[in-house]
Point group: C2
DNA sequence: CAGGCAAATTGACTTTTGTCAGCGGCCGTG
DNA sequence: CACGGCCGCTGACAAAAGTCAATTTGCCTG
């Protein structure tokens, strides 16, 4: 991607301002344009990722609790969003997750992205970056639902923010028969996408609940009654559109067999698996995901962190006795 | 390195301001401090690398000339600083080099740094970063000279800017006898440092001239007359305090044998070797360095770029004829 | 525990930056 | 070639950020 001539001036302004530390009026003088234009160009530079402003997320890993969770669950890194000592507590987890995500991405990476409200919220607050040789791939099939957090939207939005290539997935998440799903999985286009998943360097997803509030129910992939039945059969959470049991293994059910999504083994083959959980109701699903080794890097809020730790301690005690 | 409690507030302020996009007065309100303090903390955050602001250097690689030089000399990447269409043309190369350097550094890297005016100028304008697991190692022995750009100063300053570990080199650059140099090289402390050089992921250096203006002459390691003699014997440039011939090989001379510095083979073992050249007089030395494969990434100004290209074309023509 | 010193904090002021309505040029169209 | 719509630029004003002297706080010492 060659720089368009129009971007040249944006780049120059950004360079003089941010790299050389000139003031806007000096930049304006230098480039023979008005200062107002400089201000505009600078905004554009920030929105394009020509200029990158990032904040260290160390504060949130430095928590003692984060260390304890890392140890208890064998994770590589944990970030804990403190509870509401600031204006918009709901935004804290996504904002933190977005920063963490950008910290984990490297040039040339291939990134798998699933879907859900949380993932979309992260995309929405993510800073712009200029990672042209990065590829963002969709981890699971699509839903026709009119929600903004559809798999393709999540992938596209993140790709847009990073200035990266977005690789979409042109198949429905769930089909009506197992046979059709199998056939579709064998289609070259789909097969290629699915087999490319294990080559990712980084994955981003949340976990879903297995109740009437679940996205797969809200999007019409399953009825609330069907979901209830699955829960009685051991369903504990949803990852990349698929239902897992309490141990984090794929639940043996028709729904999963009709699903076109990333194989759990492929997910586990991705070295960095960033899981972000926000809602308190997602405690059990998260435990399932952790048990199944679907997570190496975790972002949660303080309340969830506490529950995780309490759970780990309780489990240890019962083991010891 | 645990975060000191004093840094906590700096971090929080930076987080609210840069990650959440609050205004300074809102941050002040949130943290129950005055806005003036917030402004101060934010400055501190930038100076500590808690907040990172970086500008893409694409503009400077996108030049057609840069591509041509890459091809002509087989380099991985070339950046060209445009000539003085801006206030401080002398600062352009160091500022660009500093940005490029920061773009090339990755977490966990080991970085070799040589010395010289150019290297120090780069360190001096380098943005602050928070790369705690990075190690900066000094590539060559020290000089007692009262210049700011001594090897240890260069290493230390860069380490300070990156918040990295600085590994200094406690030996003189040149000794009076070859025997002593050899003995010193065999000292465990020194040997360890020297053998660690090839493990670097990135090296930063410039090349020096072989005249009375050379740093090794100005610092008293060689007299102007000795340097003259060496030039007649084929000396073409100075890299990490050592003298190389026109082909970029170590010149066979007493000075080099008395020198404690990075073995050229070790330098070549470093995957990314960033060479930065500013002064026009360094054309021949640069050619020598390029010929010796001592450079993979190059930052020069437009005038130097032109000379390099002209030289390459001339060489090609004479080859063809 | 008083005194003194340095560092941190703040209120008030100045400088710099963000914004937006309005102006002017450019291009496609009738 | 005139017209209208659109885009990008600018001037002027409002908002936000930077700065600094004065003051407070915390801390060490005698």
């Amino acid at each position: 991607m060659a720089i368009r001539p129009a971007d040249q001036i944006v780049h120059k302004a950004a360079w003089l301002y941010y790299a050389h530390g000139l003031r806007q009026d000096q930049v304006a003088q230098q480039l023979n344009i008005s200062r107002a234009s400089v201000a505009m160009y600078l905004r554009k530079a920030r929105e394009t990722g020509i200029v990158n402003i990032s904040t260290s997320t160390q504060l949130f890993t430095d928590d003692l609790m984060a260390r304890e969770i890392e140890d208890a669950f064998g994770l590589d890194a944990v970030w804990i969003a403190p509870h509401g000592d600031h204006v918009d507590p709901a935004a804290e987890v996504p904002v933190l997750a977005a920063s963490v995500f950008l910290e984990l991405v490297k040039k040339g990476d291939r990134i798998g992205v699933a879907w859900g409200q949380t993932v979309y919220a992260i995309a929405d607050v993510m800073a712009y970056a200029d990672l042209q040789d990065v590829t963002v791939v969709q981890l699971c099939g699509n839903l026709g639902a009119p929600f903004a957090y559809r798999p393709d939207q999540c992938t596209m939005e993140i790709a847009r923010r990073l200035n990266a290539k977005g690789l979409n997935f042109y198949a429905p998440l769930v089909l009506s028969t197992e046979e059709l799903a199998q056939q579709l999985r064998n289609e070259p286009v789909i097969r290629e996408q699915l087999s490319g998943i294990s080559d990712c360097d980084l994955a981003l997803y949340s976990v879903g609940t297995v109740d009437a509030e679940s996205h797969v129910v809200k999007c019409g992939a399953l009825t609330a009654a069907e979901m209830d039945a699955l829960r009685r059969d051991g369903a504990a959470g949803v990852v990349a559109g698929q239902i897992i049991d309490g141990k984090g293994a794929l639940l043996d059910c028709s729904y999963n067999r009709r699903c076109i999504s990333a194989d759990l083994a492929s997910l586990r083959a991705i070295p960095k698996r960033l899981v972000v959980v926000q809602e308190p109701t997602k405690f059990e699903p998260l435990l399932a995901g952790l048990a199944g080794g679907l997570c190496t890097h975790l972002v949660v809020n303080a309340a969830m962190a506490k529950r995780l730790l309490d759970h780990a301690k309780a489990t240890n005690r019962s083991k010891a006795s």
